[in-house]
Symmetry: C2
Subunit: 506 residues, 2 copies
């Protein structure tokens, strides 16, 4: 039983040290794989210790920069402090930190934006180079060495397998009742040795509750006591509520037509206010026994589990507001029976996404009239966050839904444009686009048919005429009627915004 220490294994107790001592195992130029996925389960102490170390090295006129791999986004205590210290040379596979973003977009940091299901395969196969050190937060270490994972799994299994050295942070603020919630699958292999992943339902367990780490790899253990940092959700605004209502109406329509079962199919949902509004809507919509097979368990899913709308949620991490985290910890015996945390090469696996027939619901930055979606780039050049798992789910699931308010920046930017300035989801992958204006079901439509539906159903009234005018002139140009475009104007809306502060015509 854990009491004053979470490190019960005698062999490993000897490796307990301060974060500053542990930071000595990390050297300039190293590639470091850290835990952390959407603000959950990231190391709390090592990043700050590395900032100290970088400062000392700089005082000695030495450089100290590392390549930083994680599961996905982390928190200010990791990405924020390390970017602020100019300590990150290359970052992958996802981030959402303001300081990181600024450095990526000013050319100070290289960033590789990867499909989250592919990261472990990339790392295993050596495509990304050598991984020197893994820094992983865990919830506790049993006397016999079994390791209880923390509030996210992400790429932790891969990092500890691939890294030469492992540093563990044992965080006493993570609930010990996380034990048993995880399902770490040890059947993975590189081809040609891969076998079918025998997971048929979101509730299936196919792995171990513990993270296996060879003791000899563990070079340091740091004891910490700090909560995951996540911001509270704001209550859904009218626009989010309307987007949610449009999606719910669509689900009802599909169920009536027999194209979706009455309890839908496993839900994947991005994180944020709009997805949360959709989840709340489902919770009020009389559904029972829904399931989720997704990346992240957010507030809305916890509510749905509580009400019985959702029977099980499989994910790779939590992303809870402080209130929801309190609710989880207070009722964890209830939730732990219904929540499964997996590594991200399983939560996002194409094999499983296609088999389960996931309904993928993700946000977008802009969509074009032909159904291409930009999820990552502002005005074609500046990285926002990254593609995350949306590509894993949108291409391989059963139904892909992309949602957004129809305008941004107080109406100056239209989320529906003639041509997106960057493509993350192609016309082949985007089935449904939703705004507060309405929903465009693009299945079975040719590009010109799609343009009409997207403009009429999704565009804001302020931009409808401008979009129709573009489309009509493109059709009349004689340049090709499959996907009519005027190349000289296709990206002019973005240019106009940069020049005048608005995509509207003067």
């Amino acid at each position: 039983m854990f009491s004053h220490s979470r490190v019960l294994c005698p062999d490993l107790q000897q490796k307990i040290m301060t974060a500053d001592q542990a930071a000595d195992f990390i050297h300039d130029g190293d590639t470091v794989g850290m835990s952390g996925f959407t603000g959950a389960g990231y190391p709390k102490a090592l990043p700050a210790a590395l900032v100290n170390k970088a400062q000392m090295e700089r005082d000695l006129r030495k450089t100290f920069k590392i390549n930083l791999w994680t599961g996905a986004s982390t928190a200010p205590e990791l990405d924020g402090v390390m970017a602020d210290a100019h300590e990150i040379n290359l970052r992958l596979p996802y981030q959402s930190d303001p300081i990181c973003r600024e450095q990526i977009n000013s050319g100070q940091m290289h960033y590789i934006d990867l499909h989250l299901s592919e990261v472990s395969q990339y790392a295993w196969s050596g495509f990304l180079g050598e991984l020197n050190v893994a820094v992983i937060e865990v919830a506790g270490i049993h006397e016999d060495g079994r390791i209880i994972p923390s509030s996210s799994v992400g790429n932790n299994k891969t990092w500890v397998e691939q890294a030469d050295k492992v540093i563990l942070e044992v965080n006493s603020q993570q609930s010990l009742k996380l034990e048993g919630m995880h399902d770490i699958y040890y059947g993975t292999a590189l081809p040609p040795h891969r076998k079918p992943i025998l997971l048929n339902e979101p509730a299936d367990r196919i792995g171990s509750q513990y993270l296996e780490i060879p003791k000899e790899k563990i070079v340091a253990i740091v004891e910490t006591s700090a909560p995951d940092r996540n911001s509270p959700f704001s209550s859904p605004d009218a626009v989010s509520e309307q987007i949610a209502a449009n999606i719910l109406e669509f689900f009802e329509h599909e169920i009536k037509r027999g194209r979706l079962p009455a309890n839908l199919l496993p839900l994947q949902s991005g994180v944020g206010n709009i997805p949360n509004a959709v989840l709340s809507g489902l919770d009020r919509g009389g559904y029972k026994n829904l399931t989720a097979f997704t990346e992240v368990i957010q507030d809305g899913m916890l509510q749905m589990l509580k009400s019985g709308t959702l029977s099980v949620a499989s994910a790779t991490a939590f992303s809870l507001s402080p209130d929801a985290l309190k609710e989880l910890n207070e009722n964890i015996d209830f939730y732990r029976e219904k929540i499964i945390l997996r590594q991200q090469d399983i939560s996002n696996n194409p094999e499983i996404a296609r088999r389960l027939g996931i309904i993928a619901m993700n946000g977008l930055i802009e969509a074009d009239i032909y159904g291409n979606v930009n999820s990552t780039h502002i005005m074609g050049t500046r990285m926002m966050n990254g593609i995350g798992g949306s590509g894993d789910f949108a291409r391989n699931g059963y139904l892909s839904i992309f949602m957004t308010p129809s305008t941004a920046k107080n109406g100056a930017i239209s989320a529906i444009v003639p041509m997106v300035s960057h493509v993350d989801h192609t016309e082949h992958d985007v089935k449904v686009i939703v705004t507060e204006q309405g929903l465009a079901d693009l299945r079975g439509l040719s590009p010109r048919q799609r343009a009409k539906v997207v403009i009429n159903n999704c565009a804001h009234p302020d931009f409808k005429e401008q979009l129709l005018d573009y489309h009509e002139r493109a059709c009349a140009s004689g340049r090709g009627m499959h996907t009519p475009h005027l190349l000289s104007e296709a990206l002019s809306w973005h240019e106009r915004y940069e020049q005048t502060g608005s995509m509207r015509l003067a």
Copy 2:
């Protein structure tokens, strides 16, 4: 035993009729699912009969147009004659016919360009509307009703399951020794009832040798005798040979570094002269026991099977030159042990592509300096053929290689451009780009790092300076350094080509 007739089942013999009679089962506005994949196994008689029927209807001042679904591309006897008669309202999921293409691009025909693995799921789930009639070529019907599939499988299983009526064409020019080559998997289901597809190696058989069709659905049988129509391959030119050499060198490099096994991983290869040159190169390269898990068996693969370079080839269709078809038929007892033909929702399945770790080799129309690939659109608006299965394999396989000569139209067009005019494969999916100039390995590189490698290794010398100049000015613009672009110039190369006949600066 088959002798004078290929229809031995007495119940079905009664349904033998002429193509003109069978055409009466197809009505104006119907959706018709036909067999056919890359010029193999398409119906030879019904399309012409439908052209007659359309003419007669027109003489009576009635319209006759259908929606046409197939496996992939067919031949002039199907797409060509029907498009020429203006008989196709909507076409999916792939085509490569010149008359179709002209009508798609002049706005006379709607075309939906789908990932080939998804078509059956779309059709089963009702996303594409109702399927009225299936027209399927087969090689023979046994006395007990077992049906021997023809030289392609494609979507035939789905069409016969989904259509209200089935018309069979029994083609006596297809080899009867095709019997046993097919593996029609009957474990498919819509979610939530899908189970793992227990295929671990390209050679695994998981289905039936016969196509199951309820007799009561079969409304007509038409006996035909006509060969599949495929064009001869031209011998590889110097450019194709150099592209192949670059890929082969890359494979050797990867094997040396332990990132690929000595017998590689299952190969998927597009069809054409460049892929054929790659296959020939592999055949001369001392490889043994390679495997292929691909869409189409082309000439090069037959050679490789013969020499022992390739131990097995799994596909959904043949696409053989007349000479290779002769070779196949003369030695079919040898080849039938090494060739497996599957339906395209299995040959292209994301589950299997990820598990097997496919090496996907496909052509491209243009790539941009950041690694986005356009596989379908000429100058952003005009459809060439379609995305086919390239998206299934590129996203879900182990390694995606896209190949092209560095220029087109006698050097007027650069295949490497600042920004592609349409995106089919995003920066997240494109691992390797190859031209005769060299190979760009984009794995583990940020967009700006990719730009340097793509320009330096792949661009034609005539366009290198222009591309570097664009990239440098984009970097200097201060607009965002993650994916630097000048939006006003990004598509100007295409405009310049349309205005001056060349992408070169004057």
